[in-house]
């Protein structure tokens, strides 16, 4: 299904619910509250949200923690170059590590050959380094190049909002 077709399956009430749910109410009946504001019943609001969760437009309703306030002050983007036929297996292995939040195969450039990316979080830089080291210990023979790019300034960090 292409993007346009996907978008068409959502109507105005769906979008209203998603918009409202971006700031989820801390009250005993949060879905009732969203439904009232969107102009539908709570049962209908829940059906619509469940459908959007199933379809993937809504990843979840939940808490996003502030890494730095949660004690996870160190973060590094681990990038590495693997032969194309090894990326899937190594990527799945890297993704299994609890310290890794995002793990992707990405486009390469002649002067930026890394094809596997993993965001590693830790309470210290040493922890982040240790996680990267455990990957290299396992996959070292296949790794053609790698780097651990620590974040040095967080200039902006927000969530996508409708």
């Amino acid at each position: 299904m292409n993007e346009a077709a996907q978008k068409e399956t959502l109507d105005e009430v769906d979008f209203a619910l998603l918009r409202l749910a971006q700031d989820f109410p801390l009250c005993p009946d949060p879905y009732g509250e969203l439904a009232r504001q969107a102009g539908c019943s709570r049962t209908e609001a829940l059906l619509r949200l469940r459908r959007m969760a199933e379809f993937g437009a809504l990843r979840r309703i939940g808490a996003v923690l502030q890494h730095r306030r949660s004690g996870y002050v160190a973060g590094g983007m681990f990038v590495c170059q693997l032969p194309p036929h090894r990326v899937a297996e190594a990527g799945q292995w890297l993704a299994e590590l609890p310290e890794v939040s995002h793990c992707y195969e990405r486009k390469t450039y002649p002067d930026w050959p890394y094809n596997l990316y993993g965001m590693i979080h830790g309470r210290t830089e040493a922890q982040v380094l240790a996680t990267a080291a455990s990957f290299l210990e396992k996959w070292g023979p296949d790794v053609l190049a790698h780097a651990l790019l620590f974040s040095r300034e967080e200039w902006k960090k927000t969530s996508f909002r409708l």
Partner: protein, 169 residues
């Protein structure tokens, strides 16, 4: 110093962590994974921890006030909503950095922007409403940064996308 009011500055974390009891930590772990899509979501969360709805609400409120919870609400999938999302990087000279950062940050559709180690020292994510908007925003950024090239890093395979910070560990 990063200058963003919603990102409290300084090391700070230990005292705040101590204010959270084990039950708070277990609740934070659950609520990161998702608030259930049920008639009584806070009640359902509380039941597994032996907490009432009121206690769940009180503890979550405290975590919001302490800044441990950055946001409580719907986490959306921009590309499933018709947006064009991507990760981009630039090689920016130090004397252009401030200008590049402010040009990138002024767009509400930019959600992340970090300085990183390495040759490509500025990394950001953008979700534009269409290709034309994406091209226009990126062109403005490249111009301001005076960078030799804009690197676009579309994902070719997703192995994981799960931001989960274990609060009990």
């Amino acid at each position: 110093m990063n200058g963003f009011p919603h990102e409290p500055e300084g090391p700070c974390t230990l005292d705040e962590r101590d204010e959270l009891e084990l039950l708070d930590r277990r609740l934070l772990n659950l609520v990161q994974q998702g608030i259930p899509l049920t008639e009584d979501p806070y009640g359902d969360l509380g039941r597994s921890l032996g907490l009432s709805v009121e206690e769940v609400l009180e503890r979550l409120q405290k975590a919001v006030v302490l800044g441990v919870i950055r946001r409580l609400g719907a986490v959306l999938h921009p590309s499933r909503l018709g947006y064009v999302s991507g990760l981009y990087a630039l090689e920016v000279k130090e004397d252009r950095m401030a200008l590049a950062v402010s040009e990138i940050n002024r767009h509400p559709l930019v959600t992340h922007n970090y300085r990183r180690d390495g040759r490509l020292n500025l990394w950001f994510t953008l979700s534009a409403s269409c290709d034309e908007e994406k091209t226009r925003i990126l062109k403005g950024i490249l111009h301001c940064a005076e960078a030799p090239q804009l690197y676009e890093f579309p994902s070719q395979q997703v192995f994981k996308l799960k931001v989960y910070l274990d609060m009990e560990g």
